[in-house]
């Protein structure tokens, strides 16, 4: 109570002033609008703000508010949005909010916001931009007056959810009511929602049905510097929409580094910068290049532990295996250090995307205490992939060790291979990493490369996702969004023409685009599914093969991370367990078996978590697949796609499923090079590939359909299922038009099969 009062009293001077201002605006009922007396007039609904209660917001005028007015509303006893009294917690949070760096520039922000349609906002991490700016906008847009929502996009689902929760707490409302979130496969908004956090992909999907985004009064693109595919597309779209809809406001929020590029892109939009709360970071380079960056990283960590004062360490490595290995080595050496000399304790935590959330949470644990009183302080060391670079903020990090590598996904439109390779990071990324050391106090960053290497070998910026991805899905979305001219679509970073060609070509073969490039019925339907076009087409055509239920399951399983768990210490047992589910015809069917077993266990009332643990399956991913399946099923039902199954007793049960797989994945087929070789050749692109060792397929088949083609240590096709070449000719005759093939084994094999089919038909006809 005491804090509240002090705020009230402290404010009273300005309050009077404002009241005078308001009076000029023609408001006679002065007393009634005093927020502190509002509860006296609770049953007086005469001011008609639609909410049925008197609120300090009534005095505000849209797009003319000031920071002082807004903070007065925030200070009031009653929640201006719901009319309910504020909870005690609210004022606690409000106090911390007032300390955020961004708060100081609230007025400046509002002035700028009023003066322009598009605003570029730069705020370093820790400035509070993600939570505060949307609320500032909320108090200015006053969505309850015109019913237009405020959207704030996030690149990551988790961020959208957690930030929405936080902001709901800050506004003292229930999540899902005034503040909600919407992510793929989950929507937590209601009719009252005014502020909506959502993934950028989700906003893009919404705009497919609402080309003008007319539901929204203001759209905030957060973390734009991450340049996700969806954000890039959204920016280009919003640029177009902004010209059509003058009432739509757009805020692009980014980190410092490439703000100028954003400004130029948005017709030299004004820029507002808010400093973050960062401390200087001292940067060290090595004098010579390192011969083994993992070794060097481990040593550096130990050296820091031995010689540097208190503070946690963050080490960036590239992949799961490398991280686990480094963690083991560091812990071993630290144990030695403690035994041999009086070193402080150190906890080592791995951090990577596929780590179960409970273990991910452990990185927020406190550093261990000193072993004895007065002993050397303990610290924690987090060994992470580049997710700790942007996505996560871990306080207490003082030392950063940066070997300069990360795993990056890059798509090659020529061979249609997606590579996930270790490559040097960018300068921007290196700075971002270093910045992680200066969040709580001045820190140090140890770069395991020379300054020369930093200057010469690193590119300036990380390539945006749009340059690194297969664009088939994007092109389909763009077509659905009504973008006709793909060539002149004003993207910030236009993709390589070849990538665009490949995407168009794939869509054409999938019959999503007709020969004139127009969206077909199939294409329009496929774009309704938040899936890759091939998967969507497979799903849509599955009723023709009487197995849409099964294909639906397989599709959901393919759109979640690997369900197989293969811990390092129990690889063999995990593989044995996987073989229990194995279907000799391929991995897709094995996935399906595992899923059916999972559902079976669920129905039998077993402890599913335990069951998954015993069978080396990921409960988390299986249940999210279950969730995805439910969502996809709903979409199928709204578009009248029949759900059916072949009887399990029917000998064609699995054959039908395999045939259905071909209907979507006929462009991802490989043929064995020769009868006893392990090398396969992809159809049309003639790339030599191996089947990924994780497969259950033991006897090699001549023709396989694969889910993905990746380049890791070799060129692999992953998740393969055996098919018959006749199906290819039958199901995808256009793609498998033998005349269009180059001379080679595949062509001769296909010719042979055509002959065979013809002969068989002739025999049938003759009879």
């Amino acid at each position: 109570m005491a804090t509240k009062r002090s705020i009230v009293e402290g404010d009273s001077g300005s309050q009077d002033l404002k009241r005078v201002k308001m009076g000029k605006g023609g408001d006679a009922k002065d007393d009634k609008f005093n927020p502190y007396l509002a509860h006296h007039y609770e049953d007086d609904n005469s001011n008609g703000n639609g909410n049925g209660f008197s609120s300090p917001l009534d005095k505000l005028e849209r797009h003319k508010t000031t920071a002082a007015q807004a903070s007065k509303c925030e200070d009031s006893d009653l929640n201006p949005w719901t009319g309910q009294p504020h909870s005690q917690r609210y004022f606690g949070i409000l106090k911390t909010r007032r300390d955020l760096p961004v708060q100081k520039q609230r007025q400046e922000f509002l002035d700028m916001y009023h003066s322009t349609q598009i605003l570029v906002f730069v705020g370093e991490t820790g400035s509070g931009k993600t939570t505060q700016i949307p609320q500032y906008v909320l108090y200015d847009e006053l969505p309850h007056l015109n019913g237009k929502l405020i959207a704030c996009t996030q690149p990551r689902r988790v961020a959208a959810m957690s930030v929405a929760q936080r902001v709901a707490d800050e506004l003292d409302v229930k999540l899902g009511e005034e503040v909600g979130y919407s992510i793929r496969f989950e929507n937590k908004t209601g009719p009252k929602t005014m502020l909506k956090y959502m993934t950028d992909g989700q906003l893009l999907r919404e705009s497919m049905h609402d080309h003008d985004m007319s539901r929204y009064g203001c759209i905030i693109l957060d973390e734009a510097h991450e340049r996700t595919l969806a954000t890039d597309i959204l920016m280009a779209l919003l640029k177009q929409i902004a010209a059509r809809r003058k009432d739509l406001k757009i805020i692009v929020m980014s980190a410092t580094l490439d703000a100028q590029k954003f400004q130029t892109y948005f017709y030299n939009a004004p820029l507002l910068a808010v400093p973050g709360r960062t401390y200087p970071v001292e940067i060290f380079y090595t004098p010579e290049p390192e011969r083994d960056y993992v070794e060097a990283a481990v040593r550096t960590v130990l050296q820091i532990h031995a010689t540097e004062p208190e503070g946690d360490i963050l080490l960036f490595l590239t992949g799961e295996e490398e991280i686990e290995d480094a963690c083991r080595r560091i812990s071993l050496e630290v144990d030695d250090m403690i035994r041999e000399s009086d070193a402080g304790p150190m906890k080592v935590y791995p951090l990577y995307g596929t780590l179960p959330p409970a273990q991910q949470q452990r990185i927020f644990d406190k550093a261990p205490e000193a072993l004895r009183k007065g002993g050397r302080p303990g610290r924690k060391c987090i060994v992470s992939t580049n997710i700790a670079e942007t996505s996560l903020t871990i306080d207490g990090i003082v030392y950063v060790v940066d070997p300069g590598f990360s795993k990056q996904k890059i798509y090659n439109p020529r061979s249609r291979v997606e590579s996930l390779l270790v490559s040097p990071i960018s300068k921007a990324s290196a700075q971002q990493r270093a910045g992680r050391a200066g969040r709580t106090r001045p820190g140090k960053c140890f770069r395991l490369y020379t300054e020369k290497a930093f200057k010469k070998e690193l590119i300036e910026q990380t390539y945006p996702e749009i340059l690194r991805s297969n664009l088939a899905n994007t092109v389909l979305e763009l077509k659905k969004l009504g973008v006709e001219d793909l060539v002149h679509f004003d993207l910030m970073d236009p993709p390589a023409p070849e990538t665009m060609m490949r995407a168009l070509e794939e869509l054409n073969y999938l019959a999503c685009l007709d020969d004139d490039g127009e969206l077909t019925k199939m294409g329009s339907l496929a774009s309704e599914f938040p899936l890759d076009p091939a998967l969507a087409v497979m799903l849509i055509s599955s009723p023709e093969f009487y197995c849409s239920n099964e294909i639906l399951s397989i599709t959901s399983l393919l759109s979640v991370p690997q369900i197989w768990v293969r811990p390092n210490n129990a690889r063999k047992r995990a593989d044995e367990m996987k073989m229990q589910f194995a279907h000799s015809d391929g991995d897709h069917l094995t996935l399906l078996n595992a899923y059916h077993a999972f559902k079976g266990a669920e129905q039998n009332g077993q402890d599913v978590k335990q069951w998954c643990h015993e069978h080396f399956l990921s409960f988390r991913h299986l249940s999210s697949a279950d969730n995805v399946r439910a969502q996809l099923k709903r979409i199928m039902e709204t578009h009248d796609i029949e759900l059916m199954s072949t009887s399990f007793q029917d000998k064609d049960y699995y054959t039908n499923i395999r045939r259905a797989l071909v209907s979507g994945f006929f462009m991802q087929v490989a043929m064995r090079e020769s009868s006893n070789s392990k090398v396969y050749k992809t159809v049309k692109d003639d790339q030599l590939v191996m089947i990924h060792p994780s497969t259950v397929v033991q006897s090699p088949y001549d023709w396989v359909v694969y889910n993905e083609f990746v380049l890791t240590t070799k060129q692999y096709v992953r998740t393969v299922t055996n098919i018959r070449p006749e199906w290819l000719l039958e199901i995808a005759p256009i793609y498998y038009d033998v005349d269009t093939f180059e001379k080679g084994e595949i062509k001769s094999a296909l010719t042979r099969i055509t002959e065979k089919i013809r002969r068989r038909q002739a025999m049938k006809g003759g009879r």
Binding site: P287, R291, Y293, H488
Partner: protein
């Protein structure tokens, strides 16, 4: 890796880049793009857009990747030859052939030898740890830059050795580079210039460190402090980005002809400083109670220490360079040795043996 390296066979197809597809002008995709007004060689997107200034090669063709299947650090090259034994002997000859002056060669040789010695000593004898005890100025001991903090912190000889090595190596690398450039341009003046540059680089590094700790600079270096402050001000003009970034960038950009004069002045001052340092060293080595060490080595180490320590009082564990030997394992060996010793002891002790083998006698 030569014959000893792991074999890594990889079968390549006839057309691994699938140029067949990219050359095919009849594909649906290409037809579509052309029908919308795209011409081969053009970027997609709005033609002549303002933001096109940032377009790179990645906007015109797919991003090339290389398969990295080793753990080589950034910038390191396989077989970069600095472990090559025997070639040292030819370095002077090769240098002479490249037209280097005797002085340069001598300096290079010295660097190499120092480096070798350091490596040898570290491998053979391990290192002795020292604690920073301030600097002797005149006949008074002055605390280091961050006074008490640094004093309580053990700054080890290992580190200083490493840092000194570092610095040496830096000069080495820069002289290497100069060699290369030299070959390109073939003028002897250039060499001198390069040397200056190398020095400057070194100095810059120091300056940077100093800047990080600028406030706690000892009073004797007032002039320097001013200078660094000036620089700092320059940097902070840049504003937007964080200090380090601007510092490292600015150094490239702003180091222009204007500053040449300044640099020369600085160099002079630096010389003076060095003289002072030497004096300090002498005093310090007298004061040092550590004896029994080979004096020349001591001196060298001292020099390394003062070189790095004067610039940054706080011990800075730099990542061990590639050249640093495997010190890390030594602790493990130590415990192992102890373990073995215990075992041996047990074997000689009959009573213990009897107990172990459960012999009752």
């Amino acid at each position: 890796m030569g014959l000893a390296g792991a074999k890594n066979k990889r079968k390549l197809g006839n057309d691994p880049n699938n140029t067949k597809w990219s050359r095919n002008t009849e594909t649906f995709g290409q037809k579509m793009l052309k029908s919308q007004g795209w011409e081969p060689g053009q970027y997609l997107g709005v033609q002549g857009a303002e933001h096109a200034q940032w377009h790179t090669e990645a906007n015109s063709t797919h991003i090339r990747v290389t398969l990295k299947d080793d753990q080589l650090g950034l910038g390191a090259k396989r077989n970069n030859g600095d472990e090559c034994t025997g070639l040292d002997a030819f370095q002077t000859l090769l240098g002479r052939l490249n037209g280097k002056s005797e002085d340069v060669l001598e300096a290079e040789k010295k660097v190499r030898e120092d480096h070798k010695l350091n490596v040898y000593v570290e491998r053979k004898l391990g290192t002795i740890r020292f604690v920073s005890g301030g600097f002797l100025v005149g006949d008074q001991v002055v605390d280091t830059i961050s006074g008490k903090k640094a004093a309580s912190e053990p700054s080890s000889a290992t580190e200083s050795a490493v840092t000194s090595e570092e610095e040496k190596e830096e000069t080495k690398s820069s002289s290497k580079r100069s060699k290369k450039r030299k070959a390109d341009e073939g003028s002897s003046d250039e060499d001198e210039d390069e040397k200056k540059k190398a020095k400057k680089e070194k100095k810059d590094k120091k300056e940077k460190k100093r800047k990080a700790e600028a406030d706690a600079e000892p009073s004797s270096k007032d002039k320097d402090k001013k200078k660094s402050k000036k620089r700092k001000a320059e940097d902070s003009d840049d504003g937007a980005s964080d200090a380090e970034q601007s510092a490292s960038r600015d150094r490239d950009v702003k180091e222009s002809k204007k500053e040449r004069k300044e640099r020369r002045e600085r160099e002079k001052r630096e010389k003076k400083e060095r003289k002072e340092k030497r004096r300090e060293e002498k005093a310090a080595s007298k004061a040092a109670t550590e004896t029994g060490d080979d004096t020349s080595r001591e001196k060298k180490r001292r020099k390394g220490e003062s070189d790095s320590a004067t610039t940054s009082g706080v011990s800075t564990p730099t990542a061990s360079g590639t050249s640093t030997p495997t010190i890390m394992s030594s602790s493990r060996y130590l415990s192992r040795q102890r373990f073995i010793a215990q075992k041996k002891l047990a074997f000689t002790d009959t009573a213990a043996l009897n107990q172990i083998f459960m012999i009752k006698s």
